[in-house]
């Protein structure tokens, strides 16, 4: 009887290595209905999935919009907007693929900084994309237009003086009677600009402005997502849902659902030193995971690693009936 695996010829002259080679099977073959096994498995899995779906359903928390963010926490929105304008937000200073930055600002391992190799592919000019250009879409606002012109035509040192002063003051701002109340100071045109942007965001118009593209249809949410992520509102919601990196982050999902449990090893590395506190943690974790993944795929070729199954003898549990039969 010819069966799977019996017809391959041994390589002449090769020494037997129990972690690489296997002796021919000359024992019994028994009836085994693969199709029946698959059909039973399909029914069992389907019933299990239906049961889990009926009992637990699936999470679907509403997304955060710029409107919902600026409505819930207008001061946080204004604080974030000013960091976009002065170029100190996380997005504005991120580097590739969003914008150019100092070589030392990108993640690296020794001399290797892969994110610099590919350059800027999704350009984001934070001040222009998040503040100036959206404000310029507002119609019939001569005072605002004048403020924008004043700001854009001012020397960068003057711009920095205005934004630095406003950034300090807005921390003590309040929102009342439909507008931001910022302690008085020398903010130049920045105060009316951020105030107008906050009103625009609360109306929902900023969501549309950030999504506008040359095409009618759009599916790229990079700009609004990064803007929202620069604020603390989304961060606090993630914290409340146990989604922070220090809380095993992405492998969780909202509610008490298992999430991407298969990412446990990836997430684990963020919990241990030096990655826990490293500014290059992402690249370090990815490097570790790439090496481990390569090792897993190449286990059959790695002496020592491929001996673990044989030395651990767990296989005797798996094939206990076989070893009982031949003993």
């Amino acid at each position: 009887m010819t069966t799977a695996g019996e017809t391959s010829a041994p390589r002449r002259g090769r020494r037997f290595n129990p972690d690489r080679d296997v002796a021919e099977w000359h024992g019994k073959y028994l009836p085994y209905d693969l199709v029946k096994e698959f059909l039973i498995a399909l029914v069992v899995v389907t019933l299990l999935v239906v049961l889990l779906s009926v009992v637990f359903s699936s999470p679907d928390d509403h997304p955060v919009t710029v409107r919902s963010w600026s409505t819930a926490q207008p001061v946080d929105f204004a604080q974030t907007a000013i960091t976009e304008l002065d170029g100190t937000s996380a997005t504005a200073s991120f580097g590739p693929p969003y914008n150019a930055t100092d070589p030392g600002a990108t993640q690296s391992i020794g001399p290797f900084s892969p994110e610099r190799w590919f350059g800027v592919h999704h350009p984001i000019d934070a001040a222009n994309n998040y503040v100036i250009a959206p404000l310029q879409t507002l119609p019939d606002q001569p005072a605002l237009d004048a403020a924008i012109t004043t700001y854009t035509s001012a020397p960068s040192s003057q711009q920095a003086n205005w934004t630095t002063a406003y950034e300090k003051a807005v921390a003590d701002a309040a929102f009342a009677q439909g507008g931001l109340k910022v302690p008085s100071g020398a903010y130049g045109p920045v105060a009316p600009m951020i105030s107008a942007l906050t009103s625009m965001a609360r109306s929902g118009a900023l969501d549309d402005a950030l999504l506008s593209s040359r095409q009618f249809y759009g599916t790229d949410y990079t700009k609004p997502l990064l803007f929202i992520a620069d604020g603390t509102y989304l961060d606090n919601l993630g914290q409340a849902q146990h989604l922070q990196g220090s809380q095993w982050g992405m492998m969780n999902e909202t509610g008490n659902y298992p999430g991407q449990a298969w990412l446990w090893l990836y997430t684990l590395w963020y919990q241990v030193p030096p990655m826990k506190t490293s500014s290059n943690a992402d690249l370090q974790v990815w490097a570790i995971m790439m090496l481990l993944t390569l090792a897993l795929a190449l286990v059959p070729f790695i002496p020592g690693l491929r001996s673990i199954p044989r030395r651990s003898r767990i296989y005797r549990l798996i094939w206990r009936q076989h070893y009982r039969d031949i003993s």
């Binding site: 010819t2 799977a4 041994p10 090769r14 020494r15 037997f16 129990p18 972690d19 690489r20 080679d21 296997v22 002796a23 021919e24 099977w25 019994k28 028994l30 085994y32 199709v35 698959f38 498995a41 069992v44 389907t46 889990l52 779906s53 359903s57 999470p59 679907d60 509403h62 997304p63 955060v64 990108t106 892969p114 994110e115 590919f118 599916t219 790229d220 990079t222 997502l225 929202i228 989304l234 919601l237 849902q241 982050g249 659902y257 298992p258 991407q260 298969w262 992402d282 993944t293 897993l296 795929a297 059959p300 002496p303 491929r306 199954p309 044989r310 798996i318 094939w319 076989h322 031949i326």
Partner: protein, 239 residues
């Protein structure tokens, strides 16, 4: 009306002018490598008697449910399940079948690890299995990014840091919903299906790995390399 009663195989092998026909050659090679009795065997070696073997077929079954429920979601579009009770249920089926798929696949993978299932020209079977797992992680990940809800926002804005640090963010933009949806419903499922299909064919081609010999656990590889010629009745590797 006449009916051609000759089988294609008979024709291809019988006619001299077809000897160089690529189609006939391909068929002959395929049938030689995987004859029907090997492709769909009704017998297995006696050692194939453990619950661990069930996890391979459970993984395939879960994948079938994942694909089926994904097709239903695709028919109605990515926003359907947010506003429809039926859609939410189908999305739940999709989510939980993915969870079952990964659970059974991981048990299958570790089971095969502790069987050292790469032995005897089965290295490609192991590698395609591991790569299937990795690509499946990507497929699930892009699924989470395509949900259009808070989870998508959170996961994409968190994941961008890791992806961008590798440079891959220049091409693979996790905050671009349209791109992630295409990867999730077209590219990655296609790759998973091809890999899993190839993996299953390799399992059929090489068969189920036999157990270690009772004395194997005491052997050292260096000592075994000095084995007598009579012991060199082995299945060589794939190289």
């Amino acid at each position: 009306m006449t009916t051609n009663t000759e089988t294609p195989t008979d024709t291809a092998t019988a006619l001299p002018e077809d000897a160089d026909q690529l189609t006939a050659k391909l068929r002959r090679a395929a049938v030689a490598a995987l004859p029907p009795e090997r492709l769909l065997p009704d017998r297995q070696p006696a050692y194939v008697a453990s619950w661990i073997y069930v996890f391979g077929v459970l993984t395939l079954s879960a994948l079938a449910v994942v694909i089926l429920t994904g097709v239903v979601l695709a028919i109605f579009g990515p926003s359907w399940w947010h506003s429809s009770t039926v859609g939410l249920f189908v999305n739940s089926l999709h989510l939980w079948s993915v969870e079952v798929f990964f659970f059974t696949m991981v048990v299958h993978l570790w089971g095969k690890f502790f069987m050292a299932a790469w032995r005897g020209r089965r290295r490609a079977t192991w590698i395609t299995g591991v790569v299937s797992f990795i690509v499946s992680v990507g497929a699930a990940f892009t699924g989470y990014l395509s949900q259009q809800n808070f989870d998508s926002q959170w996961i994409s804005t968190q994941a961008k840091d890791g992806i961008n640090s590798t440079g891959a963010g220049a091409i693979f933009n996790v905050t671009n919903f349209g791109q992630m949806l295409m990867w999730h419903i077209v590219l990655l499922p296609l790759i998973v299906a091809l890999l899993v299909g190839g993996h299953v064919l390799l399992v059929r081609l090489r068969g189920v790995v036999p157990p270690f010999a009772p004395t194997d656990h005491t052997a050292k590889a260096t000592e075994a390399d000095q084995a007598s010629p009579q012991e060199i009745m082995v299945k060589g590797d794939l190289s």
